[in-house]
């Protein structure tokens, strides 16, 4: 514990270095700015700025990416509350009560509460991260290829089944992602696989191209001429953002409970942020004295999900950095960026790169303070940003995507890849397949294959080794439980009429 505080102090030293601070501020600012824009979530923002990280040093790069991530979450809440327009799926829940509050003229208060809840939750998340990570590292050092394999399996399975929608579709998309990861030269034998004799594919699919295709272009293809964004006449000034005393009191415990939900889920590898916010919302509705208020502008329905999203974001960095298992697609992207920088996430990361880990932790706090400072006086600017019409937005974003992907490797072929993944992503989205598990599979795929083959080599082809080693057996047990739970849920759905609660929530 004492050591953690010393490390944290060291982290602040790193994060406050001018260059690092500058990139962190830049990330937070850009993240917030783009997060506010309708239709632009953290994923689009990070994938657009990913190429920029290739030219800067690893520490500022990760600080910037993290800044974009939580910056865009703050920004996204603004669109969700004022326009009923969630730019990032987790904010879908915030809309349910946030938008009615705006209609009732309390939009400013909803934003104020959101900011307070976010800051509180993020702080708790950071504290958990500080004290939990060193513990996890001790366990993680016992990990060999076998353990890494089974925990990755658990992460992938959790990522596929615990997101929203059909778990089978999630699994299908994870497999698709793993297959995308297979493309290119096989590191062990040197054979080129699925390259269709294109030399440009020998290095594999470009991460930035994959993400921008799936989250950028695919999104434009699905939304063009179909989203009608009502111009908002909501005017929010600094004064409106102060919630009343009664509202504060009402929101306090939901905020704490939301934070707890987020922390719990953040520590579990593979669970997405959307499911976390839905659970936080459901918890509030279940324990509320008068559940009928929800959906009509209950402040608890804003505070709890936003708090859970933010604590989850922070805690999510634990499995991502110390085990190399990202919690969701955004984390997978950050992981991918680290790997490109030559930093292997895993238990060694905290000891080998303390500057990255503790610098990141410290920058979270700096970033979150900045966001509060930034958002309160600048709320008027953000609100005006919301009015940017989609017809100007997506062509500009498309151009940034093209330039961004090109600059990664100075390859126009990669830009072509974007178009291909855009079409693939649009088809999947139209058929109601979730696309984020693809990134999870893509980033983890090569690691999973390498470790699996190594584990098999060590055990002389005996699959039982996964059950014989105790830590691995636990993970496999958890996987089995997860599958059984899904089967049980499916069996119950067949017998009972479907409890269409979540579907109803969204359609409202």
């Amino acid at each position: 514990m004492h050591q953690s505080l010393i490390d944290l102090w060291y982290g602040f030293g790193i994060a406050l270095q001018p260059a690092n601070l500058m990139w962190s501020v830049f990330g937070v600012l850009i993240g917030n700015l783009i997060g506010v824009l309708p239709g632009m979530g953290a994923l689009t923002t990070i994938s657009m700025l990913l190429p920029l990280t290739y030219v800067i040093a690893p520490v500022p790069a990760i600080l910037m990416l993290a800044g974009i991530f939580y910056g865009s979450q703050y920004g996204g809440a603004i669109g969700a509350i004022l326009l009923n327009l969630p730019s990032h799926p987790p904010h879908a829940v915030t809309c349910l009560d946030g938008y009615p509050m705006t209609k009732a003229g309390r939009g400013g208060a909803a934003l104020g509460i959101t900011m307070m809840a976010s800051f509180f939750a993020a702080s708790v998340g950071i504290i958990v991260m500080i004290f939990l990570s060193p513990l996890l590292v001790e366990i993680a050092f016992k990990f060999g290829p076998t353990e890494i394999c089974s925990i990755m399996l658990l992460g992938l399975l959790a990522g596929a089944t615990m997101s929203r929608g059909s778990p089978l579709k999630g699994v299908a998309m994870t497999i698709f992602g793993l297959l995308c990861g297979v493309v290119g030269t096989d590191v062990i034998s040197g054979t080129t696989r699925y390259t269709f004799d294109l030399p440009d594919l020998a290095d594999g699919v470009e991460l930035g191209a994959l993400c921008m295709g799936l989250f950028g272009i695919a999104d434009f293809l699905v939304s063009v001429n179909r989203t009608t964004i009502k111009p908002s006449d909501a005017k929010v000034s600094m004064k409106d953002m102060r919630p009343t005393r009664a509202e504060m009191k009402q929101a306090f415990w939901p905020m704490v409970r939301g934070t707890m939900v987020g922390t719990l889920f953040g520590a579990m590898p593979g669970t997405g942020p959307t499911i976390t916010t839905f659970i936080a919302y459901a918890v509030e509705r279940k324990i509320a004295k008068d559940p009928s208020r929800f959906g009509k502008g209950a402040i608890e329905g804003v505070a709890a999900p936003e708090a859970s999203a933010h604590s989850k974001t922070q805690v999510d960095f634990i499995p991502t950095l110390s085990l190399g298992i990202p919690g969701d697609a955004v984390m997978a992207l950050i992981l991918g960026a680290l790997i490109i920088k030559g930093i292997q996430p895993g238990p060694q990361l905290i000891t080998e790169h303390p500057d990255i880990f503790w610098g990141l932790v410290a920058s979270f706090w700096i970033g979150n303070v900045l966001l509060v400072i930034l958002n309160v006086p600048m709320i008027g600017v953000w609100v005006r940003m919301l009015q940017v019409p989609y017809k100007y937005l997506y062509p500009a974003a498309l151009f940034f995507i093209c330039v961004g992907v090109y600059s990664t490797k100075n390859s126009l072929f990669d830009v072509g890849e974007v178009a291909v993944f855009g079409i693939i992503g649009a088809i999947f989205l139209t058929l109601d397949f979730p696309v984020s598990p693809i990134v999870l599979g893509f980033v983890l795929g090569p690691m999973l294959e390498e470790n699996f083959r190594r584990a098999m080599l060590l055990s002389r082809g005996d699959l039982m080794v996964f059950l014989q080693r105790p830590i691995s057996a636990w993970f496999i047990g958890a996987c089995t439980l997860l599958i059984l739970a899904q089967l049980y849920a499916y069996g119950r759905k067949l017998r009972l009429p479907p409890p269409r609660e979540t579907a109803e929530l969204v359609s409202e």
Partner: protein, 161 residues
């Protein structure tokens, strides 16, 4: 082959997964398989292809009938109101990306920038030639200043190949 009318999105998805899995499997068999002990390059892809087909079958069996499917993408414009095909938007967006690739290769950075923004902007039904051209011009200037002078992007401003 005509597909049954009662088919929902899930059935098409299942069919797609089956085809994809089969293609991966077929290609994967061309690589060295090896044994569990010493896996060849083809082992993992073949396993993944087979798994994908299995998941495809499972989705096909458990598929919801049209109209009673679950929402996966809660974002607006995603699936809720399935309108007809949006060819203008689709072609313009893909055309925008492709014109960046082609003009980047044969025209240089500035023509590529202008074309990609202009073409993709035309995809929106509310856009006019004038508004798209203005947007494209603004972004071209922006690109010149930020990407060429600021970040010294490798692509030459103009090139005739």
């Amino acid at each position: 082959m005509r597909l049954p009318k009662s088919w929902g999105k899930d059935h098409y998805g299942a069919l797609m997964l089956l085809a994809l899995g089969a293609a991966v499997l077929a290609l994967g068999l061309g690589y060295k398989m090896g044994s569990l002990n010493r896996m060849g390059a083809g082992f993992i892809p073949v396993v993944l292809g087979a798994l994908m087909m299995a998941v495809g079958i499972a989705i096909g069996i458990t598929a919801a009938k049209p109209g009673q499917r679950e929402m996966t993408n809660p974002l607006p414009g995603h699936g809720t109101h399935a309108a007809g095909p949006e060819w203008r938007g689709w072609l313009c967006i893909l055309g925008g990306v492709l014109s960046f690739v082609l003009l980047g290769e044969h025209g240089g950075l500035l023509p590529a920038t202008f074309a990609s923004v202009f073409v993709s902007a035309m995809g929106d039904r509310n856009s006019t030639v004038k508004s798209s051209a203005i947007l494209a011009a603004i972004l071209t200037v922006f690109c010149l200043i930020v990407f060429h002078y600021g970040l010294s992007l490798q692509l030459p401003l103009f090139q005739w190949v």
